[in-house]
Structures are given as structure tokens and as C-alpha cells.
């Protein structure tokens, strides 16, 4: 991505989008062209990629510093990471653990992460899970397993 003007911070957003743009344009170029006058499947991805590259340029030139504060304080990092892990685990166990058990557990973990007491967390988690199950499974025949 060229040589940044000195003392200018590199904008991660501009670089990220430029990279996506280049990938898209390249992928679009690789799609089969139909040999006719009408644009093929690669036309639109290519236009999007080039547009992204073009729109990233002004941001890159502006070189605005982008201080990203992922978490407000160290205290918030733990629940954030724990929630993402809990959700990943939840989705991985989708076919192995019945809906009522896995969802109630997720709800309780979530409330515990937000430092809700054990009893209240269990109560609210189970109640919400049951309500969802009743509404979706009994009411709408949506099968979550």
C-alpha cells in the first residue's frame, strides 16, 4: 500500500478496506467472462472492489489517528471474552445438548458474567428459556435441536 507520508499514522480502517477491495477486484477478475457484450458474474464484485479501493484512498491520505479502545478498563475484558467463548461453545454444542439445557446454561452464564446473584440468574435464565421454548416450539413448531 505505497509508502506512508512520514509522521502520518497509518489508518487501519483504510488499509483493511483497501485490502478487501484488492481481494474482491482480483476475485472478480478470475470469474468466467461470458465472451459476450453483457457483463458476467465477476463484473459487480470487481466494481465493488475498485470502489472500495478508491474510497479508502481519502482516508489513507487523511491519515487520521484511530485510537481503538477495545475495552474501557481491564475489568471489562473478562466478561467480554467469556461471553464470546460461551457463545462459540453454545453453537458448537447445538446438536449435542438439548435446547432447554444449553440455552438455560448460556443465560445463567451471561447473567453471572454481569455479576447477577446465582439464585436470580438461575431463576431468570430458566424462566426466559422456558418462555422461548414455549413460544417457539409449542406455539410455532420451530425445532431448535
Amino acid at each position: 500500500m505505497g509508502c506512508p507520508v512520514k509522521k502520518r499514522p497509518i489508518d487501519p480502517v483504510a488499509c483493511g478496506f483497501a485490502a478487501i477491495g484488492v481481494t474482491l477486484a482480483y476475485a472478480g477478475w478470475q470469474f468466467p467472462r461470458l465472451g459476450g457484450v453483457v457483463p458476467g458474474p465477476g463484473f459487480f464484485p470487481m466494481v465493488c472492489g475498485l470502489a472500495m479501493l478508491a474510497f479508502a484512498l481519502p482516508l489513507f491520505i487523511a491519515g487520521r489517528p484511530r485510537p481503538v479502545q477495545w475495552v474501557a478498563t481491564q475489568q471489562q475484558a473478562r466478561p467480554l471474552i467469556a461471553l464470546i467463548l460461551a457463545l462459540t461453545l453454545y453453537l458448537l454444542l447445538w446438536h449435542w445438548v438439548p435446547f432447554l439445557i444449553r440455552t438455560a446454561l448460556l443465560a445463567i452464564v451471561l447473567l453471572r458474567l454481569a455479576s447477577v446473584g446465582w439464585r436470580r440468574a438461575t431463576f431468570a435464565g430458566c424462566l426466559t428459556t422456558l418462555a422461548l421454548w414455549a413460544g417457539f416450539f409449542l406455539g410455532l413448531h420451530v425445532n431448535f435441536d
Binding site: 432447554l100 439464585r119 431463576f123 430458566c126 428459556t129 422456558l130 413448531h141 425445532n143
Partner: protein, 335 residues
């Protein structure tokens, strides 16, 4: 006050927990005990390959409501749309063949493999029955100068690659039929795919395309209203919903392949279960509700049992496996 609330929450949480555990236990018991009883003893799921609202969905839901009366257990439709139905087919063939999970099988079960969408086909399925067929119809705007099918073919021969036929999507059954028309009459059209037959017909009503190939039931209302003119049914016989429109066979041509609706289960269904299901499907097919649906939506009510359906589907699969690669590459080369 706070203490009181805490106590309440405490007691309630215990009650809820106990109730919930009890529910789990009852559920697991329910699952075990069903296996010993005779089929069917629990709800049956019927997987539909489209979003709610379409023709496949309507056929499935009417059939499901009639099956409920025959089998005495709930039959619940579940929509799993995607990839011309391949998502649903792949899902169904991977389930246990216990008769509690069935699928709605449209013409696409014979097409998705040839279209290269997924490695799944009739060979992975236990076919139960076919219940209806929809004939392809070529329609033009009522203000168009073409009064007959042969007039359209004549015009197309004088101006190859000029007239535009709209269809419901590339690789759809109606697109294949438009390509068959080209091949049989040795003409060349521009094919414009739309997102479904309704959109293609809209474009024809606005005269953005010259003609449309779509299902008889989809075109018939506009023909009856006088806004469209149907020129031919791509079939050996006329369509009941358009009795005045000639079949191509009468005009001296022989091409066209219908859309159809059937039902299937994962491969390996026990014989008693299959015969129970086919019997129920047959009764449901004969019901007034289903026959009325066929009349209203312009389908031919045709019943084929498992063996005849298998023969029919094998023929269709062979046909599409040779026709689709030939026709689609030809269409691409022209565009």
C-alpha cells in the same frame, strides 16, 4: 422489603428449576417410549424446500393437514430454503429413516446434481409418491402481434437473437423449457432471468420482455383477465386450467418438461412404515382440499406410487443430466 423479594426469588427459582427438570425428564421418557409403540406415535416433520408462501409450500401444507387426519398425529411443515432446494434435500437424506421426517420433493430433486448445486439426488432418497404436475406455458402480452405459437416461431427465425423471453431464474425448470423450445424449433432468443415467475410476468405486463415461459397456474389468471395471451402448452396434452390453448404436440412439435411435486423420506424406510405413509398420502391426495388446491393453482392432480414414481424420477434424472449441460453451455455461448 429487599429481604422479602430475595425470599420470593429464592422460592420461585426453586419451583422453576424443579418444573424445568421435570419437563426434561418427561421429554426424554416420551422419546424412549415412542419406539416401542406402533407407527406413527409422535409428530411427523415435513421439510419444505422453499420459503413460506410459494406453491411447494401450499402443496405441502394442504397435504400435511390431510395427513394429520389420516395418521392421527400432527404433521408439521418446516421450511428450509436455499440453493434451489438442495439445502433441504441434503438435510433430509442425512436424517434417520424412521418415518418421522419426510421431505417435499419437487422436480429439482432430479436437477440439483446436474446443475452442480449439490451432490444429492433421488438415489439418496426413499421416494413415496408424486401428487401433482405443472405444465410450462409460453405467454405473450395481449397487445402483442403474435396470435399463434407458429407465428412467434416464424418471427424468431427471421430475427435470431432479437426477441426476449423472460424466465423465473437461470437453471430453473421454466428456463430449461425456454431453452428446449429454442433447441426444438431451431430459433435463438435472448433469455432474461428474473427472481421468480411473478417478477418475470410483471416484466411482461410492463412489456419489458416479449414473452415469458412459466407454469400454467401462474399464467392462467392473467390470460383469463385478458392481459396476457397464452400461445402454447409445452406438453403432449392441453392443460385443464387453459383448455383453449393448444399443446405443442398438436402443433407438430415435441418438447417440454413439467414441474412436479412429490414426497420422499431418507433412504432405508422400513416397509410397514412406507406402506402406511403411501396409503395416507393416497387418501390425502383424493381429499377435496387437495383437489381444490390443484384446480385453483392450475396443477394437474396425478398420483404415482413409490415404484412408478421411482421409474418416472429415474427418467427425469437421466433427461436432466444430459439436457442441462447441453442447454446451459449453449445459452452461455450465445450471450
Amino acid at each position: 422489603m429487599t429481604l422479602l423479594r430475595q425470599c420470593d426469588a429464592d422460592a420461585l427459582s426453586r419451583v422453576v428449576l424443579i418444573l424445568w427438570l421435570a419437563g426434561q425428564i418427561v421429554l426424554s421418557f416420551g422419546c424412549h417410549s415412542t419406539q416401542s409403540r406402533s407407527y406413527p406415535s409422535k409428530p411427523i416433520r415435513l421439510i419444505v424446500q422453499t420459503v413460506p408462501g410459494g406453491l411447494s409450500d401450499a402443496v405441502s401444507r394442504v397435504m400435511a393437514s390431510q395427513l394429520e387426519l389420516q395418521l392421527g398425529v400432527p404433521v408439521v411443515c418446516e421450511n428450509r430454503p436455499g440453493a434451489a432446494g438442495a439445502v433441504a434435500f441434503l438435510y433430509v437424506v442425512r436424517q434417520r429413516p424412521d418415518g418421522y421426517l419426510l421431505g417435499h420433493g419437487p422436480v429439482e430433486i432430479a436437477m440439483v446434481q446436474a446443475l452442480g448445486l449439490a451432490q444429492v439426488g433421488p438415489k439418496d432418497m426413499d421416494l413415496l409418491c408424486l401428487v401433482s404436475m405443472s405444465d410450462p406455458v409460453l405467454a405473450v402480452h395481449s397487445a402483442s402481434s403474435w396470435k399463434t405459437f407458429n407465428a412467434l416461431v416464424e418471427s424468431a427465425r427471421t430475427r435470431p437473437g432479437y426477441y426476449i423471453i423472460g424466465n423465473s431464474g437461470t437453471g430453473s425448470i421454466w428456463h430449461i423449457n425456454a431453452l428446449l423450445l429454442e433447441e426444438a424449433t431451431r430459433t435463438q432468443f435472448v433469455h432474461c432471468p428474473f427472481g421468480g415467475s411473478a417478477a418475470a410476468i410483471t416484466a411482461l405486463l410492463g412489456r419489458h420482455v416479449d414473452a415469458v415461459v412459466a407454469g400454467a397456474g401462474e399464467v392462467a389468471p392473467y390470460v383469463q383477465a385478458g392481459s396476457l395471451r397464452a400461445l402454447a402448452v409445452f406438453s403432449a396434452q392441453r392443460s385443464p386450467v387453459l383448455p383453449d390453448v393448444p399443446a405443442v404436440r398438436e402443433l407438430g412439435w415435441d418438447f417440454g418438461t413439467p414441474a412436479w411435486s412429490g414426497f420422499y423420506a431418507p433412504k432405508g424406510l422400513p416397509d410397514p412404515v412406507r406402506s402406511r405413509l403411501v396409503g395416507a398420502f393416497k387418501k390425502a391426495f383424493e381429499s377435496e382440499a387437495f383437489q381444490r388446491l390443484c384446480r385453483e393453482r392450475g396443477m394437474r392432480a396425478v398420483f404415482l406410487g413409490p415404484d412408478e414414481f421411482r421409474v418416472f424420477v429415474d427418467g427425469q434424472t437421466q433427461f436432466f443430466e444430459s439436457a442441462i449441460p447441453r442447454l446451459i453451455t449453449r445459452a452461455w455461448a450465445v450471450q
